[in-house]
Amino acid sequence: MDVSELQPVRDFVSSLPPFDILSDQSLRLCCISLSVVYYSRNEQFVEVDANERQLYIVRSGAFEVLTEQGQLIDRISDGQYFGFSGMLSGEKVVNKVRILEDALVYLLPVKIFDQLRAASRQFDRFFNQAFAQRLRHQGAIKSKNINTSRISSVVSADLISIGSSTTIQQAAELMSEKRVSSLLIIDNNKLNGIITDRDLRSRVLAKGLDGQTLVKQVMTTDPLTSPKNALIFEAMLQMSENSIHHLPIIEDGRPTGMLTSTDIMRSQSSQPLLLIGQIGRQNSQEELIAVSRQIPQLLQNLISSDAQAQEIGRILTSVTDALTRRLITISQNELGEAPMQFCWLAFGSQARQDQVAGADQDNALLLEFEPDPGAQLYFQALSQAVCTGLNACGYSYCPGDIMATNQKWQLSLKQWENEFSKWVNTPQPAALLNATIFFDIRCIFGSYSLFESLQNKVLNKTKDNDIFLAAMTDNALQQSPPLGFFRDFVLERDGSEVKGIDLKHKGTALINDITRIYALAAGIKEVNTHKRLVLLKKSKFINHQDAHNLIDACEFIARKRLSNQGYQYSHSQQLSNYLQPQNLSALARHQLKDAFKAVHEAQAGIKLKFLRQF
């Protein structure tokens, strides 16, 4: 029999990851090996035959997977699977599967399932319980694309064109109105030429032609073009080899826009190193504010280059650091030398180097001694200038007033020590809220040795401090990640379904919290979450596998958060951490679910380690 005769089955199965990557031969084997069953809600539970293990592929309908004790593990609908964990481990299945809606299900026997896994590593990886491998593998594919920004990320979206039978005066009017240096000449959707500022000068004015001359008489016919998905680098090469400054962009045979050498220059100036260099050369707050306007574009370029999320966080934060330092230096040029040694401290995301778009300020001053009134005036003026400058550069004031301008946070080494002692020794809820901010701390400017003495003192207080760590842990367990997705909803652990997920508070922040507790317990000075995890893994403070899973989960959730913001930016929406599942592919759903699972397991890990609870 020809498998194509069962088109509906094949069409459905081949649309599901990971079946979509199977070879035709494997897919055929899979389809003809299926049997089809139907579950009615009246039956309540799926009767699993322990002797005949199989993968349940849901064609339509809905199920709920529960532990033996009845705790919700997952809710499953069209295009999802159950029954594979037992097939992989070979252990007896104890989970129960409740039928929520009448369902049509395809059953794949374990023998064929194993053959498919043997035939395709990717297929195997998808189902394998070592889900971390899956996330990592995805990362490996992605990061190959780094530094290969494409034309599509820099070319402006609107197509500015005119017909070839119009006059050059009309063309010039359109160019002035749209403030562009060139026009695409399009007749009947076909690109016939281009006309540029230079053409108007050398082919019209210099030749004494008047404004009623037709565009087709002076345009450049058959211009060089470039496909939309070409690399910026390739376009640069094409322009310089041919001494041109304008390249029409073609997509599916149709002109869609114009790439100019200015577009390219602008995109290149958003490269982080150039931007940081530029920041260092500015001599006034106004100039810094102007330069900082490139930051949103830098972030978008980084997102579209598929760089790793943790790298993007570090790059963006290094720009913030450079701006902060330059603002300090500029105001010191006016105020003069500081009356004593000091440090400009950053907390929270700037300290952890995981800033994304729209980060707040969280900063403070660490002073060598308690300031006298004269010193106080100096530091007040300095912090005022820097914080206002940062605000004007797009880093809004901290809503909780954790800022260097607040006298409460202009403290001497001794005073900071006292503050930290209070937080560590009396871990009240308010103190713990502070702890999540203040214990991620980094010196941005000033005396590093002064900062180090504070850090050493703090870590001495937290290291192996059972009571403090238990309180921190209890606090970190107040939020839990979702279970996964059900249709277009996010499925919470209590079984409720919500429309979207806050990837910061239900994702990255949870990982930051877990990692901070381990780092404080181990006395690790590093504050970046990724680096903390690497050190914790190296020092065997967390076991290898758990650290890996957490690193992967952190990277995956952070990347989803960034790409979601990239999507919002390109659709002119307000940037937020809120992700709605209907925009997610089936594969991304599986991966996010795995990442949430890793976070949940890590939460169980700290609960056991620091609270001695299961």
């Binding site: 069962l6 088109q7 089809v36 069953v37 339509s60 009448d102 049509l104």
Partner: protein, 226 residues
């Protein structure tokens, strides 16, 4: 009960009288099956594509067969045959997607009938609107195997008709079409139509009907035959 006895005696009579060895074996194997409850009966879901609706004038173009055994549709045993016909498929090509060129892989009807009877032996036939398919098969057997026979099958349309009548007392136009029946059970919509996909569509509908009506499992299969 009465109907069940009628069918049983018909099967006995046909088993005794049949001159064709395949048919004789088929009817003999049917006799013990008809007393089984539905769920334990091995079914063979079938669908025919024809050049038209009149068994005296029109011809069978293709046959799709799909076994439904112990509550499972076994795709590995799905079978499909194209049948040689006289003339062109003409207008009906638009409906079934069977082109004249496909018919080059086709087998003669007589050969297909032998194959079909062998496949059906030991199983009870099932189809959506079974009387139509059965009348084409009976006509073909009469012509090519020189046997007048009466075939019986479970009819998903008939099951649905009885269910709707029980519920609302009347039937609206189109309500019994395969696609509409499937919709009522939340079964997916299939775009492609040929004898095998329609057999699959019918088999899935039967599964859903049997799951929806717990009473149906208590009756013997002969109560459902038409």
């Amino acid at each position: 009960m009465f109907k069940s006895r009628l069918i049983k005696s018909s099967l006995h009579r046909q088993f005794k009288r049949s001159q064709n060895a395949d048919l004789k074996a088929y009817f003999q194997a049917q006799i013990p099956l008809i007393n089984l409850p539905v769920k334990q009966t091995p079914l063979l879901v079938l669908d025919l594509e024809m050049t038209g609706l009149n068994p005296n004038l029109d011809q069978i173009i293709s046959i799709g067969l799909l076994p439904l055994i112990e509550g499972k549709i076994v795709l590995a045993q799905a079978q499909y045959k194209l049948i040689k016909i006289n003339g062109s498929v003409g207008q009906s090509a638009a409906v079934h997607g069977v082109l004249d060129q496909h018919l080059q892989q086709a087998v003669p009807l007589k050969e297909a009938l032998h194959w079909f009877i062998q496949q059906a032996t030991g199983k009870v036939l099932a189809a959506h609107h079974a009387p139509l398919d059965l009348s084409f098969l009976q006509q073909a057997i009469n012509r090519h195997l020189n046997e007048k026979c009466a075939l019986f099958a479970v009819d998903s349309l008939d099951i649905e008709r009885r269910r709707i009548l029980r519920r609302q007392g009347f039937i609206k136009g189109g309500e019994l079409r395969l696609g509409e029946c499937r919709e009522r059970y939340n079964l997916p919509v299939y775009a492609a139509h040929n004898a095998l996909t329609d057999a699959l569509a019918c088999a899935e509908l039967l599964l859903a009907q049997l799951a929806a009506d717990s009473g149906i499992n208590k009756v013997k299969i002969s109560q459902l035959l038409r």
